[in-house]
Symmetry: C2
Subunit: 277 residues, 2 copies
């Protein structure tokens, strides 16, 4: 059976960053068999910018014969009113839920321009976030193993198992201080854990990956090398996984997970609390 995939323009519109509209809208359209052409319009806070947007909506409708989908969050009443006149299917991503909460907790909402998540307007959380990013950058890829006392978590894994993106994501989004350390030949051959990690054993967390996936990623980096060969990948992963098991280090397989999923799963499995929301 063939499923028809319909082409459709999708616009995310906000008088703020539009991160909320994008996040929600992207998940919503992911549930329909659409070939979506997505475009974001942040900071639509003036009539001029609104005019540009309305022109694009009009053109999309003319060109495709289908109304575009518009996921929006707009506080300014006149802008919202004019947007709703456009030839589009428009969805206010917040209004219904705000209305329900209002009824449930019996409080009046105070609509304000959207602030994004993890904003850290207040200085304390701004500095926490920056400090976490700096700590994590300084401890990327085993650059240094000094200052492990301050680490929230220490990620271990073979080269290309996803340590660096995961570390940076956890620092940026969760405000955590992350060390990541790539096992080198010597570690792998001797199946050893560096003595530096001994007293931080409770912070250790392993990443592993399927050999085929690792091979694919390494080939993308260094095609045809021994480093990328299937044999090398299998051998490294086998050693490292037995090390994780022997030392009772919790670990996850990153093969089919996004950076967001890896980070969230580690947070959960390690029982860590984020320092930012």
């Amino acid at each position: 059976m063939q499923i028809d995939i319909q082409s459709r323009d999708v616009f995310y519109v906000s008088d703020g960053t539009a991160i909320t509209c994008e996040t929600l809208g992207h998940v919503v359209i992911g549930q329909f068999p659409l070939n979506a052409h997505e475009k974001t319009f942040p900071f639509v806070e003036s009539e001029d910018k609104l005019d540009d947007l309305l022109r694009e909506i009009e053109q999309s409708y003319q060109r495709t014969g289908r109304k575009p989908l518009v996921f929006f969050s707009i506080v300014i009443p006149r802008i919202k009113h004019r947007l709703l006149q456009a030839p589009a299917h428009s969805y206010d991503v917040l209004a219904d839920i705000v209305e329900q909460v209002k009824g449930d907790i019996e409080m009046e909402p105070q609509p304000k321009l959207q602030r994004s998540r993890s904003v850290g307007k207040d200085s304390a959380s701004y500095f926490d976030r920056i400090a976490a990013i700096e700590y994590t950058l300084a401890h990327d890829d085993g650059i240094t193993l000094k200052g492990l006392d301050e680490a929230d978590i220490i990620l271990l894994g073979v080269s290309r198992s996803g340590k660096t993106p995961t570390s940076l994501y956890m620092a940026m989004q969760f405000g955590l201080r992350v060390v990541n350390y790539p096992f080198i030949d010597e570690d792998i051959r001797r199946l050893r854990l560096l003595p530096e990690f001994e007293i931080h054993r409770h912070k250790l967390f392993g990443l592993t990956i399927d050999p085929q996936r690792l091979n694919e990623i390494r080939e993308n980096r260094l095609a045809g090398s021994d480093y990328a060969s299937t044999e090398q990948c299998i051998s490294e992963l086998k050693s490292v996984e037995s090390l994780f098991r022997r030392e009772a280090i919790p670990y996850i397989n990153t093969s089919s997970l996004s950076v967001e999923e890896i980070s969230t799963r580690i947070l959960e499995k390690a029982g860590l609390r984020r320092r930012l929301l």
Copy 2:
């Protein structure tokens, strides 16, 4: 007039990462005068995990005398059904909008476990994202000015104006290759633009910041130093801003903006398109 701030537990619950619930719920509760205690429950995909959550909801209600707010997105029917029995005000963050879209475009939704934004399940966008992060790390803080041909954007600014977090965010979330270069004394004194940047002039973008804010950030790093002094901050910023103007380099003031806002505004002002959504 004093506004009473009410304390309230808020839970974000999903059978996926819960990023959508967090993002939306956080903005919704930001509109009410609440002192929210937020907690996230990702990957609630088994009865066991649900039991833990239900216990916490029950305890919250007993302890505070108020029902917690639960922002959820759950595909598994039995889990959803049981969650809805709990003593909480529960909001399905997707259901109403999916229902509206369904009616508007006359297609049946195919609910699936939540995938987060920028997932890059397919290899092409996975590699794009990783490549962007690596490029950006390699070009952080003026480490090297080789390979500028591949840059999507080049951020310029004085030390501590927000270049590194912004660069990493743009790489991680937008898939862009970002160079950032800190003006050094020599550049500032001579009001010069490095010759390496000449042929990439269209990629240049400046960051500036208020002197008081810069002073505060630098004091946090190196208290009492000349580097952090108000005079030094004023002098550097004055020079750099006149350089931006003289060379017609677009720039923004980062003082009161989050990393998300800075990144989104740059994207917009520079007319760049993200490589990931």
